[in-house]
């Protein structure tokens, strides 16, 4: 380039040369830009998954003969299928609770609050504390004669001793995943043009009709994203049900963990993991079909169409 100093032009020329080199090789350019993330995905996701798939077709020890028995054992065992069913029920219950509580919270933060940033910060704050510590705090609250019971006693109410029950597990999950779900709810609600709410009311729709025909449909993508972020980790969870649910609330994640850590039956654990992954991915695809796009990449109104 004409106006540059000598040193500058030397570097400039090299940059120009490199730019020209990549410009004439579009495939190489794509590889350089997209390569690293793909490499990470392949190395830490695809290969382990493949290893797990291979292991799941082996008999009790790795390197042994091939077999389908891990799958048949799992899919024909009433005990394990009951656990899967129980896991599904708990996950759906948690998702439903978070949908209602989280949406109400996000809605009130957006619509009625001036201190939005502060409230959002408070919502995210628990993430700064270790998950395990928070779970032990809940044990402290929920156990018989714990914080909850003594508070109830203060008001002359009977103790409930919730620890090691299904409600305790639901409370724990709701507490843990609520912040994760509120963020997409909040994002979609702030993107909602308040004029649309006014237009709906102006056209004769009361608050409830306005909510069901404008607010909810317009924030559908955010809601589905939030619910997926809740459902998937709940389905695979094993720490929360172990600590808060005791032995009566077995979830499939605990079974898988057990196969790897205590029973040392890796192939069986891998097989259960594969089945569960397939089920969850199937549910995900169903949800995206239903909801118009995971993480909102299919925008409202078809602007790209």
């Amino acid at each position: 380039m004409a106006g540059r100093s000598d040193a500058g032009s030397a570097i400039g020329d090299r940059i120009d040369a490199i730019t020209a080199y990549f410009r004439s090789r579009p495939r190489l350019r794509t590889l350089v830009v997209a390569g690293p993330p793909y490499a990470v995905l392949v190395l830490f996701f695809a290969i382990p998954l493949l290893v797990m798939l291979v292991v799941s077709f082996q008999t009790s020890e790795i390197g042994g003969p091939w077999t389908l028995s891990n799958y048949t054992n799992f899919l024909t065992s009433e005990t394990y299928l009951t656990v899967v069913w129980q896991t599904l029920v708990i996950s759906l219950q948690v998702t439903a609770i978070i949908a209602v509580v989280g949406y109400a919270l996000a809605y009130s933060i957006v619509r009625f609050s001036r201190r939005t940033t502060l409230l959002l910060l408070l919502v995210i704050l628990p993430f700064w504390t270790s998950y395990i510590i928070r779970m032990y705090a809940w044990i402290n609250i929920l156990q018989s004669d714990g914080v909850l019971d003594s508070t109830l006693n203060l008001f002359g109410l009977p103790a409930v001793g919730l620890l090691y029950s299904q409600p305790a597990v639901l409370i724990g999950f709701t507490y843990v995943w609520l912040p994760l779900a509120i963020l997409p709810f909040y994002a979609s609600l702030t993107n909602l043009d308040p004029d649309l709410i006014e237009a709906s009311k102006d056209l004769g729709a009361g608050p409830i009709r306005t909510f069901t025909s404008v607010t909810l449909p317009m924030t559908k993508n955010g809601v589905i994203t939030g619910l997926i972020l809740t459902f998937i980790p709940t389905f695979g969870s094993f720490i929360t049900p172990r600590l808060l649910g005791g032995t009566n609330n077995i979830m499939i994640g605990m079974v898988i963990e057990n196969q790897f850590k205590s029973a040392f039956n890796w192939p069986f654990g891998a097989a259960i993991g594969m089945v569960i992954s397939v089920v969850v991915v199937a549910l995900l695809i169903l949800a995206t079909r239903f909801g118009g796009g995971l993480f909102g990449q299919r925008s409202q109104g078809g602007a790209e169409a």
Binding site: D193, D195, L196, E198, A199, S200, K201, D202, L203, G204, A205, G206, R209, S213, V214, P217, M218, Q300, G301, G302, A303, A305
Partner: protein, 383 residues
């Protein structure tokens, strides 16, 4: 009985008086515009009529019935929003049918009435598209159809044309007038754009700093502005400063730096007293130019000053000259002759019967203090 009767309407946001004791009526079938600069309170007035804001004081009666306190969805008015606020998740037909659906109109009738409305706004066959697939002008038409299909007593407009380019805006103005006539609906239109307001309205309400400046037909406001603000805001005006040296029932003597000139009392605002400093306003088309060499400048029956032509712009049938006068600085003159050249010496004159004289009041001018800056809402324009 007026279709819309607004009386003593006041809205305070904390210390700020956004709307200050506004009264006006809108008659059935009228096209009325509320015109004012930004911050004048015009949108707040509209939002109170629509039901999105509750007045601090005052009444709003629609067809004789008080509507203050009623929620927006129970008022027989529909609004065309500034950003249109079309529902992006619904089709054009569903957008238009939204209001009818809330009223419980059956689906078949909804579709039929939506289609008739689309025809009215000349968008036949657009029903199945989404708003995002339409151009800006087409979206305007859908927003209008969505309001009109409900056959409200009154349609409110919150500057919906401001986002369009000039040509499209002018086209939509004519369309608005046609549709208003065809549907026989009453329109209340808020805008800061005097061009739009003058073009479409039967009557204008001029607001400034939350208060009514003047209400009248376009001709009233142009020919007989009630304040310097209105004179300045509606059309162009020259303002020179002067002092009233004498005042009686027939005329005043005004000294604008070129000697005392008798001005008819009818041209002088009612609150002007002898000794007051005043603004003397005159429209550019009332100003005449003469060759300086052939006229005498010491006329005592007309405002006159010598000056130099600064610029000339050709405007079709007229030419607009800016003249640097010795007595008053720059004065604009809109005249038929185009004989004058830049730098030429001329005499600027206008007849005393063409002026409007207002008491000098710095708060009164459009380029003066913004509403938001007013330290105290209690201060009125008189002191």
């Amino acid at each position: 009985m007026s279709l819309l009767h607004v009386s003593g309407l006041t809205k305070e946001f904390g210390d700020l008086v956004a709307v200050d004791d506004v009264d006006f009526d809108v008659e059935d079938g009228e096209f009325v515009s509320i015109l004012g600069p930004s911050g004048s309170g015009k949108s707040t007035v509209l939002r109170m009529v629509a039901g999105f804001e509750e007045p601090t004081a005052g009444t709003i009666a629609l067809e004789g019935e008080e509507i203050v306190g009623k929620p927006p969805f129970e008022r027989d008015v529909n609004m065309v929003f500034q950003d249109l606020a079309l529902f992006p998740h619904l089709t054009v037909a569903e957008n238009i049918g939204y209001g009818l659906k809330q009223q419980g109109v059956p689906k078949a009738e909804r579709r039929e009435r939506s289609e008739r409305m689309l025809e009215m706004v000349r968008l036949e066959g657009y029903g199945d598209r989404t708003p995002a697939e339409l151009s800006g002008g087409e979206q305007q038409r859908v927003a209008l159809a969505r309001a009109l299909v409900n056959e409200p007593a009154l349609v409110l407009f919150d500057e919906p044309l401001s986002s369009l380019d000039r040509k499209l805006r002018q086209h939509m103005q004519t369309e608005l007038q046609r549709i208003q006539t065809e549907t026989d609906t009453t329109f209340l239109y808020v805008t800061h754009d005097q061009e739009v307001a003058l073009a479409v309205s039967d009557r204008l309400i001029v607001l400034n700093d939350g208060g009514t400046q003047q209400i009248g037909t376009v001709e009233d406001l142009y020919e007989d502005p009630a304040s310097r603000f209105v004179a300045d805001f509606i059309g162009d005006v020259n303002t020179v400063t002067g002092r009233v040296t004498d005042l009686d029932d027939d005329r005043a003597l005004i000294d604008a730096g070129t000697g005392e000139i008798p001005v008819p009392r009818t041209a002088i605002a009612a609150d002007v007293a002898a000794g007051d400093d005043v603004d003397v306003c005159v429209r550019p088309y009332q100003v005449s130019l003469r060759d300086a060499a052939t006229t005498e400048t010491d006329a005592t029956d007309a405002f006159a000053s010598t000056g130099t032509v600064l610029s000339r712009s050709y405007q079709g049938s007229d030419s607009l000259y800016d003249v640097d006068t010795d007595a008053w600085g720059t004065v604009s003159a809109e005249v038929r002759e185009d004989a004058f050249r830049n730098g030429e010496d001329v005499t600027v004159t206008w007849a005393p019967e063409h002026v409007h004289v207002y008491r000098r009041d710095d708060e009164d001018r459009p380029d003066g203090g913004e509403t938001e800056d007013r330290p105290d809402g209690g201060e009125t324009e008189d002191e």
